[in-house]
């Protein structure tokens, strides 16, 4: 354990947050550049993590581990370590944040009436500092292998998110009055907080329960994932069926709220609708992923039997989310809410893949987390640029945009195509893997999920048709095309999408071993093909 690389990766944005927040009010631009700088530094460190991670045969599961005693009395340790999935997620997080900062460059500037001199305008510094803070928390929760540690960051994340949602809205809601929007915003923020806090408390109970369970079976209670897994493997640890199921539920509910699974999803559309585009991306592409990631790592790893027991229900919920989210996306009048519901549908796919308990399903789910992150970022950010130009989130306020802003329309279309998982773009790979993985174990579920594909095509194309094509809506004649900054934000994302769609092998190489580990935790193996094909010539 030489240089604590993971800690450094997580600490950089945290430090950045402090530094950014400390910049005096007048020097807004400096704060922005500082934030960008720190986020880029994080990217570099994350890249280092990616390189240092050994994907070879027989490489141990958790790498770059760090372990210090923290609260000795309860066996809480500061334990970090990443498996393939963790590495991928950390990379995604670190990669997205600079784009978000770039996209939100002017979102937190004092708007017209509120002059920078007055104290009451929303300080830019705070905005960027909060974003960096969230990044730090998320990275830590991806890296934490001590359950209690994970829980802490899992919850602490909510605080900066709360302020980001409640404090910085795009002023383009359906309601015109400033107060109305403020009320909507705070409603959304409180809803977000309450939902996640409830989940968190349930999880806390489960965490404590877990500790007790370990404490009276092992020589001393522990929160360490690795220790518990080893004890399980050695047969020293076995929560009874009942206990295990309760604990599983405790964890699962929390994660199901975080990665909104029907019917615990209603906070997402509010939160995403009211917050600025970068924050919305932060919610759906980064923070929510912690939920699905945690399902994969903790729910399955710690409670295999219970997961097996719950699978039918979870899969049903996932299917409902897929169809339900897509249908509601069809019914939305508000661009960002539409994307939010689309995300709910996609999270349905992720959960489906995770609980299909096949290597394709779980590998696909992991890829899905990443691809969905990038795709949603692309789509949502472009939508954000559009909204910022027109000052409205209503789809009905747009039309024929491609005439005045072809590049914007084009990028929007590509983002949309990624969302409907067109082959050649990243999401297709993951979605198809999830489908195959599900199908190979639960045929019916796989087929039902396919309906999601068609619906996705519908809501994306209808959105595109209504906003971008047709005759130009009055008031849009002067709509400017993407600026250089905006293009610089979107273009790399699109390039990344294409790369992930054409050559995802590097990613799968990282992810596969981790998935194998998870599968072995739940003692599952892929179903065999019915009639193994005769070996084909290359």
């Amino acid at each position: 354990m030489s240089f604590p690389l993971l800690t450094a990766t997580a600490l950089t944005p945290a430090v950045g947050a402090v530094v950014t927040a400390a910049v005096p009010a007048a020097r807004r631009t400096a704060a922005k550049w500082l934030a960008l700088l720190f986020s880029l530094a994080t990217v570099v460190l994350a890249a280092a993590v990616l390189l240092r991670f050994d994907t070879g045969e027989g490489a141990d599961r958790f790498q770059l581990t760090e372990s210090r005693s923290w609260i000795a009395d309860f066996g809480v340790r500061y334990e970090l370590g990443v498996d393939g999935i963790g590495v991928a997620m950390i990379a995604l997080t670190a990669l997205l944040i600079p784009f978000l900062i770039g996209a939100g460059w002017n979102d937190a500037d004092p708007k017209g009436d509120e002059a920078p001199a007055t104290r009451r305008w929303r300080p830019t510094q705070g905005f960027f500092a909060l974003i960096l803070m969230v990044e730090a928390m998320v990275i830590l929760s991806f890296a934490a292998t001590d359950i209690f540690l994970f829980y802490i960051f899992f919850e602490a994340m909510l605080i900066p998110m709360y302020f980001l949602i409640g404090g910085f809205g795009d002023r383009a809601g359906e309601q015109d009055s400033e107060e109305g929007q403020a009320r909507q915003r705070s409603y959304a923020a409180v809803k977000f907080l309450l939902y996640n806090l409830v989940g968190g408390l349930v999880m806390l109970a489960a965490v404590i329960g877990l500790y007790v369970a370990t404490a009276d079976q092992l020589p001393e209670g522990t929160f360490s994932l690795q220790a518990i897994l080893d004890a399980r493997a050695a047969g020293e640890l076995d929560f009874g069926t009942g206990t295990e199921r309760w604990l599983f539920l405790g964890f699962f509910v929390a994660f199901a709220i975080k990665a909104p699974l029907w019917p615990l999803h209603t906070w997402l559309p509010n939160a995403m609708g009211e917050s600025t585009a970068p924050v919305a991306v932060l919610i759906t592409a980064v923070v929510d992923k912690v939920g699905t990631f945690a399902m994969l790592r903790f729910c399955l790893g710690l409670f295999p039997e219970a997961s097996d027991w719950a699978t039918p229900v979870v899969i049903t919920l996932a299917l409902v989310s897929i169809i339900y989210g897509a249908l509601l996306a069809l019914g939305q009048r508000d661009m960002k809410r539409l994307i939010a519901y689309a995300s709910i549908s996609h999270f349905g796919f992720i959960v489906l893949g995770i609980f299909a308990m096949t290597s394709q399903g779980q590998g696909g789910a992991t890829l899905y987390m990443i691809n969905h992150g990038v795709a949603t970022a692309a789509l949502l950010l472009v939508a954000g640029f559009l909204i910022a130009r027109r000052g409205s989130r209503l789809i009905s306020d747009y039309g024929g945009v491609q005439k005045t802003a072809p590049v914007l329309a084009g990028t929007f279309l590509i983002g949309g195509l990624a969302t409907l998982s067109l082959p050649g773009l990243g999401p297709f790979v993951s979605e198809f893997l999830v489908l195959v993985g599900t199908f190979s174990r639960y045929k019916a579920a796989g087929i039902v999920a396919c309906a999601g594909i068609v619906l996705a095509a519908l809501y994306v194309l209808i959105l595109y048709q209504r906003t971008m094509t047709g005759p130009l809506k009055p008031g849009l004649e002067k709509l400017p095309d993407l600026k250089v900054r905006e293009l610089a934000v979107v273009a790399p994302l699109i390039a990344l999408l294409i790369f992930l769609g054409v050559y995802p092998k590097p990613l799968t190489d990282i992810v596969n071993p981790a998935v194998e580990h998870t599968l072995s935790d739940v003692q599952k193996t892929d179903p065999e093909p019915e009639t193994p094909a005769v070996e084909a010539a290359p």
Partner: protein
């Protein structure tokens, strides 16, 4: 080498899309050049292939491993055998010609660069589709062409009708794609792979049930892409796109992908007779459906679209017949590619000269004004109606013969249906011909009030038409020389010989007979007397046919409207029910606490009461403890 085949147009698309303004001037030439490059590559590969013998004609190229997850091994690998070779030649040649044609056709369009980018994109996707070595890669091409057609149909986005048509096409295709996706999954779960060789080899020792399931799913996909009933509704609207697009995508190449898919999966269908029956039925139904629609349309492109559907119906039916039909399906596909492309280009040329007027009742007597178009169009016309010794004659008659050779009652039925189809084909094609080029001129000033001045199109447009005309005249004859085409494809598709109750000659005779019948009927109705400029209301069958036999009304009533209600209802429920429950909980907690607050009224004696109550409870507790 094979990779380059796909790569060249892909590169073109990328360059043109990213390239930006300064490519405006040369963009179309770049695109055409790259299309030509792939054509040349294809030609060289073709001759190279001819150089080799029977078995080892098929080429494989493994580029890189695409999605490796456990047993799920998807590679980017190409397979170039006679079947794909045929398609590659068709696609690249027709594609290049149409690129050339578009240079003239899109001359005045400000977004020409993008148009060519899309065309290149389509070429790349289509080539990928036919060259793929496994079904997943094929799926990529499959949706790729869907995307290209979406972009090109909706190319004139400012027209809401175009945008809607594009969306419709993509969504309907998506339904078909789901079929293909499920088929791939089934293959994976059945054979543990979805590359052609293992799947097709494994098909022999797999249960018929599975094969039927896979077959039906593949058929669903084919229906989507090839506009077969019940997923046919998008093709008519697709004519909103620029005419070259209609010619390339919605006549010659993309819509035939379904036929390719089924032929490629022949082994599976051979093992699943039920699936084959369904294919036959679909083909037959579409054949008549398209023909009837084609008879009623006054929009020249829509009429041609109907004809396309019907012709593909022929091919489908042929593929449904199994090894007997595969070869001829492909053969008809190729010849159809030539003459239908020719027809569309002709139609485009006509519209070009008539200020984009599409209503045939406003044409008339154009043969004097645009002779070249007339001649080429005419040749293609003769080809499609199966005029003896033109290409249509050979391919179609073979299919009809194969139909008869199914044997028994089915054989007769199929044969009859196809003959009827042939008659209808002759009818509506003649109708188009008469309405467009014969009779006296019926055109009027358009909305802007300026009289159209019909004129022959520039060379860049007429040359492709001539080439295609030659193709549509000669292809069939050439293919039929010593059954060259049959021998060429046999190693891939296999060849079966049914015993037909009727001889080749009889079939040919019958076909020609009904053809003449159809022509006569059309002349009787449209040739003898002048045609009125506005369509008569006609009988119910005509009206229905004008509305595509109510397909859209059906979809709207059965799918769209209920869907709308469903979504609206769900939105309401989500707000009121799911969200309401949560908010309700919150509210109830608030009320409860408010009520509890009232107990704390601040009066010392109230608190004293609770104290004593507590004391009493404690005493009671102790006593109980003692008692127990």
């Amino acid at each position: 080498m094979i990779g380059l085949l796909v790569g060249a147009p892909l590169l073109g698309a990328a360059v043109l899309l990213v390239g930006g303004r300064f490519l405006e001037r040369v963009g179309h030439w770049v695109a055409t050049a790259l299309a030509a490059v792939s054509l040349v590559l294809a030609a060289t590969l073709f001759f190279d292939m001819l150089g080799r013998e029977g078995e080892d004609r098929a080429l494989h190229q493994h580029l890189f491993s695409w999605i490796p997850v456990a047993d799920f091994q998807a590679d980017v690998a190409f397979r170039l055998d006679q079947l794909s070779m045929t398609f590659v030649l068709l696609i690249t040649s027709v594609g290049t010609l149409i690129h050339l044609y578009s240079i003239g056709y899109m001359e005045h369009d400000p977004r020409r660069r993008r148009f060519f980018a899309y065309l290149n994109l389509f070429l790349a996707a289509m080539l990928l589709l036919v060259l793929a070595d496994n079904y997943l890669l094929l799926y990529v091409g499959w949706e790729g062409v869907g995307l290209a057609s979406f972009l090109l149909i909706g190319f004139w986005q400012h027209k809401p009708s175009a945008a809607t048509a594009a969306k419709k096409a993509f969504v309907v295709n998506r339904v078909g794609d789901v079929g293909l996706a499920i088929a791939v999954m089934l293959m994976f779960t059945t054979f543990g792979s979805f590359a052609f060789e293992p799947v097709l080899a494994g098909a022999n020792e797999t249960g018929e049930g599975t094969l039927t399931a896979i077959g039906l799913m593949l058929l669903l996909a084919a229906c989507g892409k090839s506009a077969q009933v019940p997923l046919q509704s998008w093709l008519g609207d697709a004519m909103e796109g620029p005419t070259p697009v209609s010619a390339l995508i919605h006549a010659a190449t993309m819509v035939t992908a379904g036929v390719y898919l089924i032929t490629r999966s022949g082994a599976i269908f051979n093992g699943a007779p039920d699936a084959q029956t369904v294919v036959i039925v679909v083909g037959a139904v579409t054949l008549l459906f398209g023909a009837i629609v084609g008879c009623a349309k006054d929009d020249i492109k829509k009429a041609l679209a109907g004809s396309t559907m019907s012709q593909i119906g022929y091919m489908m039916l042929a593929t449904g017949l199994g090894p007997v039909g595969y070869v001829f399906a492909i053969m008809h596909l190729v010849t159809h590619g030539f003459f239908k492309a020719g027809l569309f280009l002709g139609a485009g040329s006509v519209m070009h000269g008539m200020n984009d007027e599409v209503d045939m009742r406003r044409y008339g007597g154009l043969r004097k004004y645009m002779p070249i178009t007339f001649v080429t169009f005419g040749l293609a016309y003769l080809a499609i109606i199966g005029f003896p010794y033109l290409s249509g004659y050979f391919s179609k008659d073979e299919i009809i013969y194969a139909g008869f050779s199914k044997g028994g009652a089915e054989g007769w039925i199929l044969g009859g249906v196809m003959l009827l189809g042939a008659a209808l084909t002759a009818y509506y094609m003649t109708r188009i011909m008469l309405l467009t080029f014969f009779g006296e001129k019926r055109w009027q000033p358009d909305a802007q009030g300026h009289e159209p001045h019909p004129h022959e199109s520039p060379l860049s447009m007429t040359i492709p038409m001539m080439v295609l005309a030659v193709g549509s005249v000669g292809a069939g004859f050439f293919f039929d020389q010593g059954e060259a085409f049959v021998h060429w494809l046999e190693p891939v598709t296999g060849l079966g010989h049914g015993d037909s109750p009727v001889s080749h000659g009889t079939v040919a005779l019958a076909a020609t007979g009904v053809m003449l019948l159809g022509v006569a009927g059309a002349w009787w109705q449209y040739g003898r007397r002048p045609v009125e400029a506005v369509a008569p209301s006609g009988r119910w069958i005509t009206r229905a046919a004008r509305r595509d036999l109510l397909q859209d009304d059906f979809n709207h009533a059965v799918l769209v409207r209920p869907g709308n209600y469903l979504t609206r209802g769900l939105v309401y429920l989500d707000h009121k029910l799911v969200d309401g429950v949560v908010n309700g909980t919150a509210a109830s907690f608030g009320g409860l606490s408010g009520r509890l607050r009232r107990v704390q009224n601040g009066f010392a004696r109230t608190y004293a009461v609770s104290m004593f109550g507590g004391a009493a409870v404690l005493v009671a507790a102790t006593l109980l403890m003692r008692a127990v």
